[in-house]
């Protein structure tokens, strides 16, 4: 069933802290937390009762914990960007937001131990820490690379850093870690750590670059894609990206229910603004 486990709930804010340019927000979500897998997202209404912003905003789940002393909680990392996210990050504790989730696909977890590389860009690092925990619990080695334009846009909480075997930071302006783009350093890190699988989340351009490297080096790569979403539940067809289906046919597929986590070799990259030649029913 599509959207299995998804529900619409009133999620109470229990913490809202600024971390660099982001806000780390914790919500009480009750039972719902138990159904959240790394890679899933939630969709939040923004602007209050008489809001002119009629669409939900999607946020990747940073972490979900089913059993804390206050019950199930869910954590998000939100960048105050436009009207919706600024409203959300300005809310006080105790405020109840209207949340639908969990939504979308999750990262596939190998049944055996693997040497995994997790790559995040900007707030794209958010879902990777939950993923890292799960992988570590299964005994996998986890290396992480986080990139952003500048230091303030790296989201890497201390406890998160501790939970991985190695952490590499890159910034476009050199204000923290290595100077350059994530993808420049990947081949070396992959070689050095004998990486067997890559998980990534971040801007589409970064995912495309990682996909190219993964393909060249023949390493399986799962990435969480992002395209403008109106509904988040698969009914509007706005969030499509061209992807190969099981038979290799390129179709415009919904990133909200076929994704956000997809196998990167399925995606036809750099196709924003056009329908790739050969797409089924090409216009």
């Amino acid at each position: 069933m599509i959207n299995k486990h998804a529900r619409k709930i009133a999620a109470e804010i229990v913490s809202n802290k600024r971390v660099g340019t982001y806000h780390h927000m914790v919500f009480e979500v009750g039972d719902l937390a138990a159904f959240v897998r790394p890679g899933n997202f939630v969709a939040v209404s923004v602007g209050g009762e008489a809001s002119s912003m009629i669409l939900r905003r999607a946020f990747a789940v940073h972490r979900a914990s089913a059993k804390t002393h206050i019950g199930g909680i869910l954590e998000l990392v939100v960048a105050p960007h436009g009207g919706g996210s600024k409203w959300l990050t300005s809310l006080p504790n105790g405020f109840k937001v209207d949340m639908v989730g969990p939504l979308g696909t999750s990262f596939g977890i190998p049944t055996e131990n693997v040497r995994a590389l997790l790559v995040g860009g900007g707030y794209g690092s958010a879902p990777l820490f939950g993923l890292a925990e799960v992988l570590k619990n299964r005994g996998s080695r986890v290396d992480m690379v986080l990139g952003a334009s500048s230091a303030a846009k790296i989201y890497a909480p201390i406890e998160g850093k501790r939970s991985v075997n190695s952490m590499t930071i890159t910034t476009d302006d050199g204000s923290a870690g290595l100077h350059g783009r994530v993808s420049e350093f990947l081949p070396e890190i992959i070689e050095k750590n004998n990486i067997e699988v890559i998980y990534s989340c971040g801007p589409m351009g970064m995912l495309a670059a990682i996909s190219e490297i993964a393909a060249l080096m023949q390493i399986p790569h799962q990435c969480a894609v992002e395209e403008s979403m109106a509904c988040g539940i698969g009914v509007c067809m706005t969030c499509v990206i061209p992807m190969k289906d099981a038979d290799g046919v390129i179709k415009m597929q919904r990133s909200c229910i076929e994704g956000p986590v997809v196998s990167s070799e399925r995606v036809i990259w750099n196709s924003n603004g056009k329908i790739p030649a050969g797409t089924w029913g090409e216009l």
Binding site: K8, I54, D98, G232, V235, C239, G273, I275
Partner: protein
């Protein structure tokens, strides 16, 4: 007092007046987690065309004040695959099915009608004529009385099934009542009002149109006053024509507004994106409101705003 929540479109009765809007409820499957589809008056499927269609490139949407633009471009699997995959599933859910069809030519509409003719369990056909006519410089069928007539007539003459035909009209015309009159004379026993308004958003960062398709359809609460006006005008001119109303309905109050203007049924579209349970919310609130106002039936409220005028 007993209250009758059923409604009629053409000569077909529906359990209640709340429907999904075409293109805003996927194949139905996506919503089934949130409510039982049979609870609605009907599920209006996304407009289906003869052949598979990729739709437009992305970005396909832009949020606007109290509304949104979309430019999906009628993505879909084509009628054959749709009838094989989607319809049986909807039937398995006991959903009441209204099929929306769209053509690129008058011939297409006739062919689509023929495809549907053998299919049992369809309650009505919504004929989306707000789509570009490739034979006429891409102008949409519903923009002119003659092309609107031709498209509807092609369905009428190629269909033996005796079910209501509901022509879906674009509000982007000089005189919508004229178009309604024309499709009525072509055999439509109802009209669906309104499809989206043509709009555009320019991204002031890239300084280009935000949508890959440049223009898109404006929907949501922003357009509700236009929907109410269109419904009112058409009901005034043709009170015998059934109207399936839509455009920014997000509450029972909104649905009532369109019913008072002249709609017998209401489709909930964009509101579902903001709230997967929107249609059920609208349904429950509308029922409460109608009862509170003392109406014995939906029919009694249809066009009520026209009294003494």
């Amino acid at each position: 007092m007993s209250f009758d929540f059923s409604t009629q479109l053409g000569d077909k009765r529906f359990s209640n007046p709340i429907f999904t809007a075409s293109g805003c409820a996927g194949s139905g499957k996506e919503l089934a987690q949130f409510f039982a589809l049979e609870e609605l008056g009907g599920i209006v499927t996304k407009s289906i065309m003869m052949k598979p269609r990729s739709g437009r490139a992305t970005p396909r949407m832009a949020e606007t004040p109290s509304g949104m633009l979309n430019s999906i471009g009628l993505q879909g699997p084509g009628i054959d695959r749709f009838l094989a995959d989607d319809i049986p599933w909807l039937k398995s859910q006991n959903a009441t099915i209204v099929i929306s069809i769209a053509g690129e030519s008058v011939e297409d509409y006739g062919l689509l009608a023929k495809k549907l003719d053998g299919i049992p369990g369809i309650s009505a056909i919504e004929i989306n004529i707000s789509c570009p006519n490739v034979e006429n410089r891409g102008q949409v069928f519903s923009c002119h009385v003659d092309t609107a007539y031709a498209a509807v007539n092609a369905v009428k003459t190629n269909l033996n099934l005796r079910i209501p035909l509901i022509a879906k009209l674009s509000p982007d015309v000089t005189n919508i009542a004229d178009i309604a009159e024309s499709v009525h004379s072509a055999g439509a026993s109802g009209v669906a009002l309104i499809n989206t308004l043509l709009g555009m958003v320019i991204d002031t960062n890239t300084m280009k149109p935000k949508l890959a398709g440049k223009t898109g359809g404006l929907s949501g609460p922003a357009i509700r006053p236009v929907a109410v006006r269109a419904i009112y005008q058409v009901h005034q001119r043709l009170p015998q024509l059934s109207i399936l109303g839509m455009g920014g309905v997000a509450s029972g109050r909104d649905a009532l507004e369109l019913i008072l203007a002249g709609a017998s049924g209401i489709s909930v579209g964009t509101a579902t994106f903001g709230n997967p349970l929107a249609a059920i919310k609208v349904k429950n609130e509308l029922q409460d409101l109608l009862i509170e106002k003392g109406f014995a039936s939906v029919a009694a409220a249809v066009g009520f705003a026209h009294r003494d005028s």
